[in-house]
Symmetry: C3
Subunit: 209 residues, 3 copies
Amino acid sequence: MDIALPSFVQIIEFLGTFAFAISGIRLASAKEFDWFGAYVVGVATAVGGGTLRDIMLGTTPFWMTDSIYLLCSGFALLCVILFSKHLIRLDHTFFIFDAIGLALFTVVGLQKTLDFGFPIWVAIIMGATTGAAGGVIRDVFINEIPLIFRKEIYAMACVIGGIVYSICTLFDLNTIVIHLLCGVSVFLTRILAVKYHICLPTLKNFDDK
Amino acid sequence: MDIALPSFVQIIEFLGTFAFAISGIRLASAKEFDWFGAYVVGVATAVGGGTLRDIMLGTTPFWMTDSIYLLCSGFALLCVILFSKHLIRLDHTFFIFDAIGLALFTVVGLQKTLDFGFPIWVAIIMGATTGAAGGVIRDVFINEIPLIFRKEIYAMACVIGGIVYSICTLFDLNTIVIHLLCGVSVFLTRILAVKYHICLPTLKNFDDK
Amino acid sequence: MDIALPSFVQIIEFLGTFAFAISGIRLASAKEFDWFGAYVVGVATAVGGGTLRDIMLGTTPFWMTDSIYLLCSGFALLCVILFSKHLIRLDHTFFIFDAIGLALFTVVGLQKTLDFGFPIWVAIIMGATTGAAGGVIRDVFINEIPLIFRKEIYAMACVIGGIVYSICTLFDLNTIVIHLLCGVSVFLTRILAVKYHICLPTLKNFDDK
């Protein structure tokens, strides 16, 4: 008799999927992809990381059991088609959504991997894969060197979240508290890294020297 | 005591695999790949889509259970090596083979996904993946932006075939009739789109404006 | 009560993983990747082939059950960061390690595939995938056309090793002898191909003629 209201996690998941899809569709538009190509890049950005995680865990990719992720990516495409000229003003909002999505996807990836019985170091990698591999697939599709390998603290934020998670497990905390601390640490690392232009060191091209 | 004659479906499958492999090998030759590289690109174009589908469905990739697909790709390589100068005259023939292969691969992908118990919207995506993902892998290997994301109605033909399939299921038709209608709609969409230069709209690069 | 000493195979595996990771990290450094990106490319080069093999075999990727592979790649990153200027002098050593790794990975991939009940022609492909696919993933990440498709006898050495393996099985030899003959044939093919500049023929770009 109840109408199923979306839970808090579902709302965050929708916002994160939307922001990830928007980032893929916008980069596709810069390369003059058609609507179909932009949609595929948007979907790949949004669900690619979780799909790779699920294939390595040996389970059915999550988006094949719930159509919300593909619908959400379609909604993102519609928004870009209709409001393309105004979207640039929302850059800051998308950046926040993206960071929220990154935090949630990391927690989901970590927890799912632990639920499958893998050790914490595999879970940390799978958390980062869930959060960041979609962006790598996006950049391969648009034929660019993946951005996260060169310029930004992005996947590293997922790794830091994973380390926070593993430290939390030492203190016998409630799962929800661990999830919150992990997610907040991913979110803050990402936000602060962008705000203060914090980068990892670049490797020198030693073959030239 | 019977000699196994290839069935009609097997002949179509061979022609489609051959045409897909030829397309990969020809694009590889434009980048001066060696024989081995060209063969790998040809195989990836021919079986890459079905392999990705089977991995997501959680089953053994189809080409690992029957060597015909790799032999067919090897035969395609041999043809390109021996008859390279004359192949260009056969462009139209290859285009028809390719469209036939696309239609068959879509039907195979759709049906296999439904047989695994997934809903029709997953099957439509898997039909398009079976038909079109090989071409994406090919373009990633030759370091080009995937053609199907920018210029042609290709994967969209698979999606239209999938929609025809799902409409047919509403009318309680015989499976063979559904397969035929689905395949014909993919084939015709592809042929007509090329003949009349039908394209999807391109996304404007709004970040420049 | 025993202290587990690494076996001969484990030492070779460590050297091979190290050499593969170094090759990924060095190419990443030429593109000015940051430490994180270089590590990911190093890991992908070292474990990418075996991961693809395990996914196609339907089993858990090997590196998820033993952390030594990721630690070894981290050690490779550390060496590049600390000793980058001196590494170029060790080029010949890395080349030998790489060829040893290629030989071992081929044998491992072949045997694992046979152990899963697949026929020898699938095992040959999986041996080559284990040895060479990591380098393809590396080159996709750094946005270059995969080197092994154009210039070098690399994956072909794995295929030759696989053919030697399948010939050996006809003579009812001991498994260890078969593994040694297979590995040595991969190693020698690779070394001799580089030393005498043996290449496969390149496909002519017939579309220009």
